[in-house]
Point group: C2
DNA sequence: TTCGTCATGTAATGGGTTACATGATTAC
DNA sequence: GTAATCATGTAACCCATTACATGACGAA
C-alpha cells in the first residue's frame, strides 16, 4: 500500500520524506495518512532494495537548500515495480484502501490495466452486495443490524454504478 | 474490535470458538471475518484475564456432545468490560470497523450510550465530508481523483442522513 | 530567544494475516 | 474408507501505530 503510493508519487518528481507524507495525505485523505514511524523506515527499505536512490545534491550550499533532508528518486527497478503493483487484480488489490490508491495513480497506468482493475473491483463489490442481500433475507437481525446491512447494500449498489460509469468512460476513450 | 465482538456474542449464550467465528462472519460480514490464528489466541487471552470462563461440561458423554471443544461463557468481569467498551466514543471507536461492531451490539447497549456513540460517529463523518469538500475545491485533481473524492463525499452525506434517522428514532423511542 | 513547523529517525507494541499441523466427527 | 467439515492451535511474518528523541530553521 504505502510502497505503491510512494513509488507512484516519486514517479512524477524526486521528493523527501516529509513532503511525500504531506502529498500522500492531501491526495488520499485518511487512506494516505501514514505516520512518520511507518514512512521513514519504508523509504530506507525501498532504498536498500534498489527501488529508490538518494539524490546527492542538497548538502552543498546551493541556493538556500541545505536542510538535512534526504531526497529520493525512482530507479528503473522502482519504475518496473510500480508498473507491476499498480496492475495487480488479486483479492488484496481490490480491498477498499488498496483500490483507492491504485485509482489515485490511474493516470500512470496503461489503459488495458485500468480496465482489468476496475472490473476486478466491480466483481468484488458485486459479491459483497450479494452477500449482504442474502444475509438480510436469511438472518433474523435486530433493527440495528438491518439498518447497517441496508446502508452497506446501498453503498455497494452506488459504487457498482459508479464503477460502471468509469468503465464505460474507459472503453469509449 | 475482536474482543468487543466476542464479549458481545457471549453476552447471549456460551459458545465455542468455531461457532463464534461463524456467528461473527454472519453478523458482521467482512468486518467480522477473523482467522483462526486471531480468534483462538484471543479467547485464551480473555480467559487468562478473567473476562471469560471455560464451561466444565462437554467432556462428559452426555447426549452426543463429547467433541473436543472449549465452550466459553462471560464472567461478571467480562460483562463489565463489554459495557465499558461498547460505550466508548473516542477517535478509534468511531472508525468504520469499530463503529460497525458497536452498532451490531446496540441492543445490549443502554440508550444514552447509544445516542453518544451515534452522535460521535456523525461528527466524525461530518468532518470527513468537510475534508473531502475542501480537497475537491482546493486541489487540482485528475479525473480519477475527482471521481474518487466525489463518491466518498456522497457516501459521507448518505451516512450522515442515515445517522440522523437513527438518532431521531432513538430520541423519539 | 523562544516557539512552531520542518525533518528524520528508533523502540515497543498492536492487531491482524498466512501457512501449517493436528485430530475428531459426519456423511457418503 | 475417504472426503468434507468441525475444531483447536502454533510460528512466522506484515503493516501499521504510538511515543519518544533529536535537531535544524524561520518568524515573532
Amino acid at each position: 500500500m504505502l510502497e505503491l503510493a510512494v513509488l507512484g508519487l516519486l514517479h512524477e518528481a524526486p521528493m523527501h520524506g516529509y513532503e511525500l507524507r504531506k502529498r500522500l495525505q492531501a491526495m488520499l485523505g485518511p487512506f494516505g495518512a501514514y505516520s512518520c514511524g511507518t514512512l521513514y523506515p519504508t523509504l530506507r527499505r525501498l532504498l536498500r532494495n534498489g527501488l529508490l536512490a538518494e539524490e546527492p545534491g542538497e548538502s552543498g550550499d546551493e541556493a538556500g537548500n541545505r536542510r538535512n533532508r534526504r531526497v529520493y528518486r525512482l530507479t528503473e527497478q522502482g519504475r518496473d515495480r510500480f508498473a507491476a503493483l499498480v496492475g495487480e487484480c488479486d483479492r488484496h488489490a481490490c480491498d477498499d484502501a488498496a483500490f483507492v490508491v491504485r485509482l489515485a495513480f490511474f493516470s500512470r497506468t496503461p489503459p488495458e490495466c485500468r480496465l482489468r482493475v476496475l472490473r476486478a473491483r466491480r466483481r468484488r463489490v458485486e459479491q459483497r452486495g450479494e452477500d449482504l442481500r442474502t444475509a438480510l433475507a436469511e438472518q433474523r437481525f435486530d433493527e440495528y443490524a438491518v439498518a447497517l446491512h441496508t446502508l452497506a447494500l446501498e453503498n455497494s449498489e452506488r459504487e457498482i454504478r459508479w464503477l460502471g460509469e468509469l468503465i464505460e468512460r474507459e472503453r469509449t476513450g
